[in-house]
Chain length 132, copies 2
């Protein structure tokens, strides 16, 4: 029986305002959904439009096939692996495909067209910080 390394870092809940600030400052996060192959997370760059999370994808990829009008989460975090410190934010909501791409321009990183705009309308947000 091994004894786990003792830890001294405190885990605290974030205020809602802090969660929004961190999500706004993050450049990428993960779209999380329950697909036909089980729980799935995909790293994407995103942008906020008010409190909606926007991201671009292709209509024929797994996001395009699996997330329209469904319950999803958007997760962002930042970890310092040396200090054992960091934060994470989890937004829950409903994903809609938005065909009015004029709302907010979302930058496209990979080559190829990403004509699908996914809008997540939030229902809750929470986050935690691990203090160094």
């Amino acid at each position: 029986m091994t004894v786990p390394t003792p830890a001294t870092h405190r885990l605290v809940e974030l205020l809602e305002a802090e969660c929004w600030d961190l999500l706004t400052g993050a450049v990428t996060g993960r779209l999380v959904w329950n697909g036909p192959d089980g729980p799935t997370a995909m790293t994407v760059n995103h942008q906020l439009d008010g409190h909606d999370v926007l991201l671009r994808s292709t209509p024929y990829g797994s996001i395009g096939r699996e997330v329209d009008d469904s319950s999803v989460a958007f997760q962002a975090d930042q970890v310092d692996p040396v200090e054992h410190a960091g934060w994470s934010v989890l937004l829950r909501g409903r994903a809609e495909f938005d065909y009015d791409a004029s709302a907010v321009p979302v930058e496209v990183w990979p080559e190829g067209r990403r004509s699908l705009l996914v809008r997540i309308r939030p229902t809750s947000i929470s986050g935690r910080r691990l203090l160094p």
Copy 2:
């Protein structure tokens, strides 16, 4: 109608061996599951035991209450927000609570006991790299 920024970065599928190398080198990732409140992702530090992913948690938290003997994913990534490059790996499998904590010591970062060892037995792994 805004025109999305043209992108020149190529997205390529990773070989399985590359996925394992990246997951082994990563210090943290996200446990992903479908809980009673919907799709959920939680940032955790992990360790590999062969091809099983191990992590520690508390028996009374959401992981302890929601993921035993269920379909989960474990996701890790690394993104360079300036170069618009990076990689992501998604492992799918089944989570089991492992009461034989002697298997592999998994470091505990936050203070407090994390007596629950979660073992993910993989069923598939895949990954992608966005080239700069």
